[in-house]
Amino acid sequence: MMGPLLVGIYVFVLSIFVGVEIITKIPPTLHTPLMSGANAISGITLVGSLAAASSGALVMSSFFAFVAIIFATINVVGGFLVTDRMLGMFSKKKKKKATS
């Protein structure tokens, strides 16, 4: 059987292909929202920082993990909100047109 590293490499390589396949043709209008949304997704590292911060001890590793949680949460919350705000401006017009 494959070790966890090999499985990880399989998953990594296949995910890159999935990413390339689903993002081939992006209309320029969506360049910024796509980047900003993808950026928020990269805050997934929050999952790692949660595990790292699970000991309550007052040591350096907890401090690193604590700062990591703050950074990653800023990235996640800020990223998704800002993307939604941008996309809201696009759809605002669609609605207007539908009513007019």
Binding site: G8, S36, A38, I44, S55, A65
Partner: protein, 479 residues
């Protein structure tokens, strides 16, 4: 029960989260589904976080809760308050935080497993060789993303100059630093046997990586910013994927890889739009070679007042507006829309020509004009608008420069030779609203200023447009 939770429910929820990330990202590539895609990705993130907390079980939550609250508040406030014009620097800053978090997770693991218990062996002995390497990579890539994004943020927000800063022999310096960093990585990974040297090695690797990030972005000129922002976006994903390898967590690997891929695709699109390779952007220090020398002298430049511009606009039947970074700086997107509305009421056909690298991040102009309620059907991509310039009565260039420079097509020796540009000079009349004759970020002369069919209207984009608007209004009233 606990076994069932850990062995079945947690992996299934992680898989669900990964699938939703894929759907979310796919949704983000179509206008119709973009908002739902973003919401799906946010839901995927929430599932991943809750699953992780479930998996952790009963642990000490003080750091976790405090961190989530602080980060959530800062992120939410920043996201709600930011002006649309400040979007590029905001995205850069968020991106840096993501990369920084990945590096910090790796550091935290190194401290927890090796430094604090005074583990008597190398990182490879404690974590396994692969995790030792990926932990180092996540420190390296994460730190580069953090400091690089921060420099990009400073450049984009104008806190430091946008011009490329070229350090002598920087390729040598970068290579030496990179080798030093890798050496430190190999040392903590395979040779260090006691906590103090482990700690030193990890800190040295982190600091060198941070410096590398600064040195990578400092030489990048403003016009290349869309490329470097996309690249940093990709790197933040790769850093998260590396952290995923250290933790053997597939959700991190999958979503990190997805972000890495999407960033790379955007980087590629931006490079193609400038007819340059990524290596050329990163290593050439664009706009320096001979650029400033021939940037200066202009002969036959004709300057016009906003009133005269308004009188020309009175007579046209079709108008193409070319927005650029100057539009964002002057916050003139609403005034442009006002003018367009006025002219449209008079029966003028108005459209906007969007160059892929106009502005400071991919799609910057689209976001700005969307904020001003410009229907996106009026925003025309470069390839589609190019054949139409010949039949266009007037082109209004607002705060753009390099993307309308004829030298890209006519002067093979120009630094921007071969870059696709908007051929605005084919139109009957070109009006350029610009603050001065100073060169754009490429730092080169724009011969268009001297063309016979070009009118220069000097001044702040917003003020000039306001004057044109009120002039058009009074002309309309008089008629």
């Amino acid at each position: 029960m606990n076994d069932a939770l850990n062995n079945i429910i947690v992996p299934v929820l992680y898989l669900l989260s990964a699938v939703l990330f894929v759907f979310g990202l796919k949704g983000l590539t179509r206008v119709r589904s973009a908002r739902r895609g973003n919401a799906l990705a946010a839901l995927a993130m929430l599932i991943a976080i809750v699953t992780t907390l479930l998996d952790l079980g009963r642990v000490d939550y003080q750091w976790i809760i405090a961190g989530l609250i602080v980060g959530g508040l800062v992120g939410a406030i920043a996201a709600i308050k930011v002006e649309m014009t400040a979007m590029p620097e905001m995205v850069a800053l968020f991106n840096g935080f993501g990369g920084g978090a990945s590096a910090l997770v790796a550091l935290s693991i190194v401290w927890k497993v090796l430094v604090e218990p005074a583990y008597p062996g190398s990182a490879a002995a404690a974590l396994g060789g692969a995790s030792a390497i990926t932990a180092f990579l996540s420190i390296l890539i994460g730190s580069i993303t953090l400091s690089g994004s921060f420099v990009a943020f400073l450049k984009l927000s104008g806190k430091i100059g946008g011009q490329p800063t070229l350090i002598p022999a920087r390729h040598v310096i970068n290579s030496v630093l990179f080798l030093g960093c890798v050496t430190a990585g190999i040392y903590i990974g395979f040779f260090s046997h006691e906590p103090s040297s482990m700690m030193m090695g990890a800190l040295v690797a982190t600091i060198i990586s941070l410096i590398l990030g600064v040195l990578m972005v400092i030489p990048i000129g403003g016009a290349d910013m869309p490329v470097i922002i996309s690249l940093l976006n990709s790197l933040s994903g790769l850093a998260a994927a590396m952290t995923g390898f250290v933790l053997s967590n597939n959700v991190l690997i999958i979503s990190g890889a997805l972000v890495g891929a999407s960033g790379l695709i955007l980087t590629q699109i931006m490079c193609v739009a400038m007819n340059r390779t990524l290596g050329n952007v990163l290593f050439s220090g664009f706009g320096q070679e001979g650029g400033s020398a021939d940037a200066g002298e202009y002969g036959n430049v004709r300057s016009y007042s906003p009133e005269e511009a308004a009188m020309v606009l009175e007579t046209v039947e079709s108008l193409v507006i070319v927005p650029g970074y100057g539009l964002a700086v002057a916050q003139a997107q609403h005034t442009v829309k006002e003018l367009a509305d006025l002219l449209q009421k008079r029966g003028v056909k108005v459209s906007y020509a969007i160059h892929p690298v106009a502005g400071r991040m991919p799609g910057h102009m689209n976001v700005l004009l969307a904020e001003a309620d410009v229907p996106y059907e009026q925003l025309i991509e470069m390839d589609k608008i190019t054949p139409e310039f010949k039949q266009t009565d007037a082109v209004l260039v607002v705060g753009a420069n390099d993307v309308v420079n004829p030298a890209a097509e006519k002067d093979p020796k120009s630094p921007i030779a071969g870059m696709p540009v908007l051929q605005v000079w084919e139109a009957q009349t070109v009006m350029m609203i610009k603050r001065s004759l100073s060169p754009g970020f490429a730092g080169i002369k724009n011969e268009l200023f001297e063309y016979d069919n070009n009118m220069m209207v000097f001044g702040d984009a917003k003020k000039v447009l306001q004057e044109i608007v009120s002039e058009v209004k009074s002309l309309t009233a008089a008629a």
